[in-house]
Symmetry: C2
Subunit: 392 residues, 2 copies
């Protein structure tokens, strides 16, 4: 497996990197952000909208797709790319995060996790091996190893137990992946993407020693890429930034680094500064459907009454379809009226903002002006205050 | 008013006509179908999607837009085209149909209708004059006169009373429209589209004599176009076809003929055959969101289990984005999973099917092969039986 998969860093600027992630379904230029299409569709926008916005990869969720429509069905349809009609790179999350979110509906043992389906309550089981098998059948370009996502806050002892289990599971998940790579008949099902790569996940909560041990042990397993998991789960952002910085320095320079489930636009900037190459997050899409638009000035809540007759676009400097074509007044009206188009237009804008921010960062790294970009970004973007709209 | 508005029949084939409807916001080639964007947005698709599909006009609803965000607000924003960001032709329904649908929440008197808003229960009033004022402020290219939509079934006496009131109201609505055209200061608000035209509406239920009287009296008022109202309200399709045929022959040849709120694809074909030029209907969009796709073979219910692993597009002969890119299996999955994308992809297909059917009819009229088109259409399209999928 993992033929046709490669990563190389092409430029550096301080801790920030620009790179090229080659997959069986095409190139992803890093730093990159993958919009989240949990169930095989990014909510409120079509694939062609995503292509138009310049999305080079999407994320889907193996847990959700396994429960419905089923990995075997997807494999029979020729794999995930073919089933969902998206022929660019795809990453499947293993479902570990989702399963551990079920709290009252799951029990963990050394072998794996038993849980009740959120769809029909039926008992399900995931192990490092079965999570691998499911993802091999789905055939995304990147499969994630099955991990235990440590909650926050957690004691160091608990974090160690959890992290060490994740390492043991990573070992089993990797073995399974390599076994199938060596002999596709090892899989009870179809290998739909022989070029699939598998990423390991560093855990260890906020404890530096645990992150170090996890990074060392995970890297040793030879994954094609390394993810940083267990962050954006409630810890202060400064803590998150510190853990990211402390983790990336322990990762091999030639492997792509993926920060899972993060974050706000300023988080992306800070984590690129700390050496992260790849991100995913539901924020731009979910918040769009809740009426929050990301702008250069910070988040803007379109439902506010003060926008009722505001003829300006959400972000006058933005080149997206929504901003070129529609006013805050219309977008507010659509949101208040509950029109589907509110979700679509807001999502188009937010994904554009995220992808555009990534492209600007990449360009800044390439030309060696990342620090200037970073400062300017923070000068206008504020997540905490009411956005200083007068900058427009 | 109505400068820049004109209609001419360019071709005829039997009773069918092809024509050009010129409006202040561009040309509509007839026979034409206007997708319904009741509240200023066609559900599940963007304006640019509609343009891509070749939509030349959309319909919005003055009643809904008056309740929210308000006609005055829209006028202050520069009118409906500007407010919603759609710069092609727009038609506003007066809201008569909606008000009369409220049944228990409205009372009719000779002067107008009082009703409780479906949004907040507040008492509202619409008269032929105020419905005109609202639409002049909205500034669509075509405003509809305020009528009473007769329900079905109804006695001839009741139908006569209702139709005669509609004629009296049409007189008042037209007077008001012409008064504002003569002196924009007559309007307490802004005239946002000086080129707006106003259409009258023929009522009379299924009674030929009443339709005849209504057509004569309505035409006499000098409207720029004439609509046929009070159909598709529960009567058998054959009755609808007969009423349409009996009505169109009484209408002046040089006025555009608009059949309101109709219908199924085969209805469009039969009514074009009977001389109708313009249609609107929620069926392609609403049914799309409910999982019904229109195909050459007839409606297809995408939620059916038999499509779970069907790799074919909904209609293999269709050139729309949905059919070129996605399988029945994926569309069924999206629908069952409740993904927003189901609504969008189904809507794209259905609007394409409707607009494409209109284009084919137009072309057939132009080249004189409408009767052949009509026969071939009915040979494959069936609304009643399970669609004969083996034609694919």
């Amino acid at each position: 497996m993992s033929e046709g998969f490669s990563f190389r860093v092409t430029h550096r600027d301080g801790g920030a990197r620009a790179g090229e992630l080659q997959t069986p379904h095409g190139l992803v230029r890093t730093p990159a952000f993958a919009p989240v299409g949990t169930r095989g569709a990014v909510k409120a926008v079509t694939h062609r909208d995503l292509l138009g916005l310049g999305a080079e990869m999407i994320l889907t969720n193996a847990y959700h797709l396994h429960l419905r429509p089923g990995a075997a069905l997807v494999a029979r349809a020729g794999g995930l790319h073919r089933f969902i009609g998206w022929d660019r790179p795809i990453l499947t999350d293993s479902g570990g995060y989702q399963v551990f979110s079920l709290r009252d509906r799951r029990t963990i043992d050394e072998d794996g996790v038993s849980f009740r389906s959120h769809l029909d309550g039926r008992l399900q089981r995931l192990t490092p091996e079965s999570a691998t098998d499911i993802q091999v059948q789905l055939g995304a370009d990147i499969a994630m190893v099955f991990d235990e996502c440590t909650s926050y806050p957690v004691s160091e002892d608990q974090a160690r137990d959890s992290m060490e289990r994740t390492v043991r599971w990573a070992h089993r998940g990797r073995e399974r992946f390599l076994a199938i790579a060596g002999d596709p008949c090892a899989l009870d099902g179809e290998v739909t993407n022989p070029g699939q790569a598998q990423f390991g996940i560093v855990q260890g909560s906020v404890y530096g020693r645990l992150r170090e041990q996890s990074a060392r042990d995970t890297v040793a397993l030879g994954f094609e890429g390394i993810a940083i998991g267990g962050l954006s789960v409630g810890e202060p952002v400064e803590v998150m930034y510190d853990v990211v910085a402390a983790t990336t320095v322990m990762l091999p320079d030639d492997r792509v680094r993926y920060l899972m489930g993060t974050g706000m636009p300023d988080d992306l900037v800070e984590c690129v500064a700390r050496g992260v190459d790849l991100f995913d997050c539901v924020l731009p899409t979910r918040n769009a459907r809740n009426g929050q638009l990301f702008t250069r000035a910070g988040p803007l809540s379109i439902k506010q009454a003060r926008f009722a007759e505001d003829p300006r676009p959400p972000d006058p400097d933005c080149g997206c379809y929504t901003c070129r074509r529609f006013s805050r007044a219309y977008l507010r009206y659509l949101f208040v009226a509950g029109e589907m188009m509110a979700g679509t237009l807001n999502t188009l804008h937010n994904i554009h903002f995220y992808l555009d921010t990534m492209r600007r960062m990449r360009e800044a790294v390439v030309v060696g002006s990342f620090e200037t970009f970073r400062q300017r970004f923070h000068e206008t973007f504020s997540r905490h205050r009411r956005p200083p709209l007068d900058i427009f």
